[in-house]
Every structure is written in structure tokens, then in C-alpha cells.
Symmetry: C2
Subunit: 214 residues, 2 copies
């Protein structure tokens, strides 16, 4: 019986190695490739012998899971990949699924369910857990209007960055060569767009989404 081949792309060596042991203990699977980031994964790929499933961690140095998924979509659109992450933020999940991930597993999943997930992806082409589905439903409720993700314009981003400092809006207006009233417009429109109710909310959003470095 031919075993299905799995590639493990994860920078947490201990986890990756351990996961490999586990997968190799399954009857129908074995790990044929291991890389610590997307870049190394791509370099190690043999175009003529692609793995049946790629297990892709999201947070990795150099080339992360999202970038790797983008590359896969571009270069090997038929490649099956499952995102495997600690990160259950809606935004990340959506990004990965949009890019064609066949499933999104949280790292605290039970080993038996993990094996089921592999089976499902091989047999049915996808695996979506309850938890991920619920996360998505939450997201739909929260922001059904911006279904292509929140795109901030350059000028808005500039304002957001300044709003994340101790400057008053008046000072920000001077800095941006705009009237305080215009700044007030940016503020209102961002409050609406980002679903926050105070400047603190802007700051938290800015930091969470890496518009400002700490």
C-alpha cells in the first residue's frame, strides 16, 4: 500500500519533529519533507514529486504561511495544503482559506481528529472544524460590509499612525497640513470602518495590525 506523503513546514523544530513521529506512526501517512519556513520549503520542493498534503504553519520567519500559500496558489494551484497554527484570529483564517487552504487546524486539536482531518482532505478534498466554522460565522456577523478585508487608504494610514501617538488631533492636523475638521472626518470614518468607539480603539487596531512598530 502506498502511503500518502506529507510535508511539514513549521519553524518550531520540536513540534515539527514530534508531529513527524506522530504522522509516521499513522498507517496511511508518512512525512517526506520538512522545512522551517516557506522559503526553505519551496527550495526543497521537487516539482515532479509534490507531497499529497502540505501542513503549513502560519507564523514563521523569513517567509510565513500566508506568503507560502500565495506562492502555492500561484505555482501549484492543485496542491493540497492545510494551515496549522496556534493563531485563531479570524483575519488569518480567512486569508488562508481564501488562498485555497483545504483546512485550518489549531495546534491543540486532538490527534485522532488530526488523523481524520488528513483523511478528509485526501478523500473529500477539505476539512473544516466546528471551531473554525464558528469563527467564520462570528466574522460574518461582525463585519458583513467589508467582505474584502479592511483596506485603508494611504492618507488614512498616515492619520492612524499619528493617532497612535500622544499628539492631539489639532497637532495631527498641523502635521498633516489639514484642517482639524478634516482630521475629524478621518477619525469618524475610521471609527466606522474599524468598528471602534474611541481613539484607544484606533491605537489597539493600529498595533494589532502592525501599522505601528513597538
Amino acid at each position: 500500500m502506498k502511503k500518502y506523503s506529507i510535508a511539514v513546514v513549521d519553524d518550531h523544530s520540536l513540534f515539527a519533529k514530534s508531529l513527524t513521529s506522530l504522522i509516521d506512526s499513522f498507517n496511511e501517512y508518512h512525512v517526506t519533507l520538512h522545512a522551517t519556513n516557506g522559503q526553505k520549503f519551496i527550495e526543497a520542493l521537487n516539482e515532479n514529486d509534490m507531497p499529497d498534503i502540505v501542513l503549513l504553519d502560519i507564523n514563521m520567519p523569513i517567509m510565513n504561511g500566508i506568503e507560502t500559500m500565495e506562492w502555492l496558489k500561484e505555482n501549484h494551484p492543485a496542491q493540497k495544503a492545510i494551515a496549522l497554527s496556534m493563531d485563531d484570529s479570524e483575519e488569518t483564517i480567512i486569508k488562508m482559506l481564501r488562498l485555497g487552504a483545504k483546512g485550518y487546524l489549531l495546534k491543540d486539536i486532538h490527534p485522532e481528529i488530526f488523523e481524520n482531518a488528513l483523511n478528509d482532505v485526501i478523500e473529500k478534498g477539505f476539512y473544516y472544524s466546528d471551531r473554525i466554522t464558528n469563527k467564520l460565522l462570528d466574522t460574518i456577523d461582525k463585519k458583513q460590509n467589508d467582505d474584502h478585508g479592511i483596506q485603508l487608504k494611504d492618507r488614512e494610514i498616515e492619520f492612524l499612525k499619528l493617532a497612535c501617538t500622544e499628539m492631539t488631533y489639532k497637532e495631527i492636523a498641523a502635521e498633516m497640513f489639514l484642517s482639524p475638521k478634516t482630521i475629524d472626518g478621518y477619525r469618524e470614518s475610521l471609527f466606522e470602518k474599524l468598528d471602534v468607539r474611541s481613539r484607544i480603539g484606533l491605537v489597539l487596531y493600529g498595533i494589532k495590525n502592525k501599522y505601528i512598530e513597538m
Copy 2:
């Protein structure tokens, strides 16, 4: 040859199971006990047959690694335990080592080094990695700077955390069962202490100094 026994205490089932596979593949070690939190670990312990090493995750529901370590120190002071965590915050490391952990491993450690660490703990009684040592040195530097200034009291920290949300001060006062005027006192005193001029400054300070997780 007798194998050394290892207990794995970790709520991330997939990781725990995988790690078990890995350890069982080592010549000198095998996993004899697995629990998903400290409570279950303690219940499962056989007083007459303690494991040679306990691998203890920090972040777990119900009873976390620190609490479990406290219990071990109290009840089995000779028990060897290694903290195993994603969390490389100085505070946590220090807490665990003070409680008698024989080592502190980050989950992205290399499998070979992991085996070495187990060997060291068995043979020498401890294992400290470069990275952890450096973290501790960093902390010593920081503490020295803090000495003539910034150490926040519990109640101040509680306030700071709430100030880093979209709550108004009035709402924070209600949350902390204090008068808004008292909250105003905390605010003024923190502004002074942290050298900031607006609530935004508090938020930035709180995030920079990891009083709140993002």
C-alpha cells in the same frame, strides 16, 4: 536497560501526542504519563512511582504550569521538572526557575538539543539554554534601570490594563468598584510616574511593557 520515565503535561493534545512519539523514539526515555492540565496530572500521579522528569507546559486551563510547579515544590521537592513553553517572557521564566524547575525549554528547540536537555537533567540535574540565560541577563539590566522609578502596584496595573481598553474612566471606575475621582487619581499618578501626557501614552506604555497581550 531501564528507560527513564517522562510525564508530559500539556493541553495541546496534538503537540503532547507528537512529543510522546518523539520521546518514545529515544533510546533512554519513554512517556509513562500524560495529562492535559496540572489538576489531572496530580490526580494521575502514583506516589510510589514518580516519573524521572516532568515536562510541564505553562499555559494550561484549570491548573497551569506555575501552579503545578508550586504544588510539586510543596509536595515533591525532589521531583525533576522541566518547563516547556512557547512563552519566553522573563517573568514566567523567573517564576518557574524560582519554583525549582530544572530547565526551561522553548517549544521551538531542536529535537537533538531537546534530547540533550533530558540527558543533562538526568545526569547533571539541570539544563539552561543560552537563550534563557540571555533573557535573564536582559531582565537584570532592566531591573537595574527600574530601581529608581517604575514599579507599578497591583491596583495600578489593574487600572492600566483597563485603561488600555475602550472603556471610559467612568466605566473603569465601575469595573474596579471605585469612584471616578479615585480613578482620576490613578490616572494622574501614572501620568507622572510613566511620563506620559495622555491616555494614549498609557496604552503605548502598557503594550510596550507587556502589561496587555495583543
